[in-house]
Symmetry: C2
Subunit: 315 residues, 2 copies
């Protein structure tokens, strides 16, 4: 049983009475905010040895923790406001390490304009384990949901894809240790300005955390549609293009770019937006009637990718 | 450095710009809710081998997780609404265990009328680690805060004190394994109805999680006052009285009763409330000008208790 079936079987029934929980299938939940607003709320955990290396720089661990959560808020089109931190530190964690960790938190709290609102600090006999709950505000009823994709609409993605998965390979010695790729793995860039600007342009959105093809599959399931993805259109950084590992690019996780769908008539507006934000936005396919994600190679033939996307507890 | 100085030194500066964070010194933070309401939000983590035993019944682990968080909401006088769960399960966690864990979650979600709103499910190479962020609503400006204690007011506590610490001793073989005490350790009762009823009666409140004397010290520091606690008035269950370990009763944690202060003119109302709720409420001392907690024995002499209360990272 992977985490998706586990969540669907065990946890989703506990969300049934709360429409704002969105069936536990979206990037964040929605709760009532002050007049005309909603709070988008998301929670993500990072564990040493699973999501980062125990000897990663402490400030980068803190910043990755914040950023993977803010990326979920960006995917809903929410403006980040604050966060709650549950930190389980190994008992032998030293003061110098903690200081650097706090420096990373501070840096990103300032960069993204969020406050630490509360949490819990405990000692653990196990690996460093961090859980963050972040919240941001969004105009009521305007959150970008995974379930809004419609047949005939374009599929877009921000930035470049595959860098983080290739960066992780570099860190584990399975690939070249390219600094750009490693940086992309260690320090994601939550696309907050993009998420906010997508109101009125995009319809469905999510962040690419488990892998492009797998994540597009989540949108298709939530929206009851299918998708055709053009592998040759997927935007690559120069070092990712040089790596020539298309399967990893399409299924590797941790990019934290935004994947969204939009009607064809917004194309020009999205191209202008790309220029205004200084952020690449690329149309990579089309939503269709049907189910599942079909990936087409440059020759127009379907590609077989196996089970795409990172899964905890996968068999 | 214990967790309180760690939070004060590293994390509190990150909360400075947000009044609702209450300096990270209260049971929950306050964020803006719909008209006339606020959300009280709290986050607590539980780690196997630290906060519970890895072989505890899975349903009770789940329920304890929910209850320690709801206890923080009760302490603010908030009505629980929902929660976000970050669950880090050891890789070898079996389906039967997960089913029982989910059964416990379901049971308490139903009992307390809350919905699971989101979260994260990951695999960990370490011990089972659970972080919950719970939220509840409270009339705007009416939350019970630790900082509201005033000189001359009575100090009250709900239920009985020391049971959970004695129950833990029973589980570790350091004391008699009394079923009532063990149950009190494993399955706290968040005093939600009491917290809601304390609006207009109590002023300062918190839940007793780190130990009665240590927690009363938190109220004193937050309010800039001192306290005199009458040890002979502290309410004990029959098995706790039989254990004759007053020092443990006064400093042991995990009771999750409410500790609150109220002006003397509310005494009769509080006694009526006790009857209405079927919950013991006991005046155990007085807030005074000054600092610190003075504990008086039955003979009126001050007792020395050492450093009271459980502290992670304590020296």
């Amino acid at each position: 049983m992977d985490e998706f079936s586990l969540i669907a079987r065990l946890f989703a029934p506990l969300a049934a009475g709360a429409p704002g929980a969105l069936g536990l299938t979206d990037d964040a939940a929605l709760i009532e905010g002050p007049a005309g607003r909603q709070w988008a709320v998301t929670a993500d955990a990072l564990v040493a040895g699973v999501h980062f290396f125990a000897d990663d720089p402490p400030d980068l661990i803190a910043r990755k923790l914040i950023r993977v959560n803010l990326s979920d808020l960006a995917a809903m089109g929410a403006k980040p406001c604050g966060a709650f931190l549950c930190a389980c530190f190994p008992r032998d964690t030293g003061t110098a390490w903690l200081d650097r960790f706090a420096t990373g938190l501070k840096s990103d709290c300032e960069e993204f304009g969020i406050a630490l609102m509360g949490g819990d600090t405990v000692a653990t006999p196990g690996p460093l384990t961090l859980a963050l709950t972040a919240f941001g505000d969004v105009p009521a009823g305007q959150a970008l949901l995974r379930s809004n994709a419609r047949s005939g609409h374009d599929i877009w993605v921000s930035g470049t894809i595959g860098d983080a998965a290739l960066g992780l390979r570099g860190l584990t010695g399975e690939g070249p240790a390219d600094p750009h790729l490693i940086d992309r793995y260690r320090l994601p860039q939550p696309r907050i300005a993009l998420g906010l600007a997508l109101h009125g342009l995009a319809q469905a959105a999510m962040d690419v955390s488990d892998g492009l093809v797998g994540d597009l599959g989540h949108i298709c399931r939530a929206s009851g549609v299918g998708a055709v993805l053009r592998a040759d259109l997927v935007p690559l950084s120069q070092p990712a293009a040089a790596a020539q590992d298309l399967a990893l690019v399409l299924t590797g996780g941790d990019d934290y770019e935004l994947l969204f769908t939009a009607p064809p008539e917004t194309r020009e507006a999205l191209i202008s937006l790309s220029g205004a934000l200084g952020l690449r936005l690329t149309a990579i396919g089309r939503i269709i009637d049907g189910t599942g994600v079909t990936v087409l190679a440059a020759d127009g033939q379907p590609m077989a990718l196996g089970a795409g996307g990172y899964r905890h507890f996968g068999v």
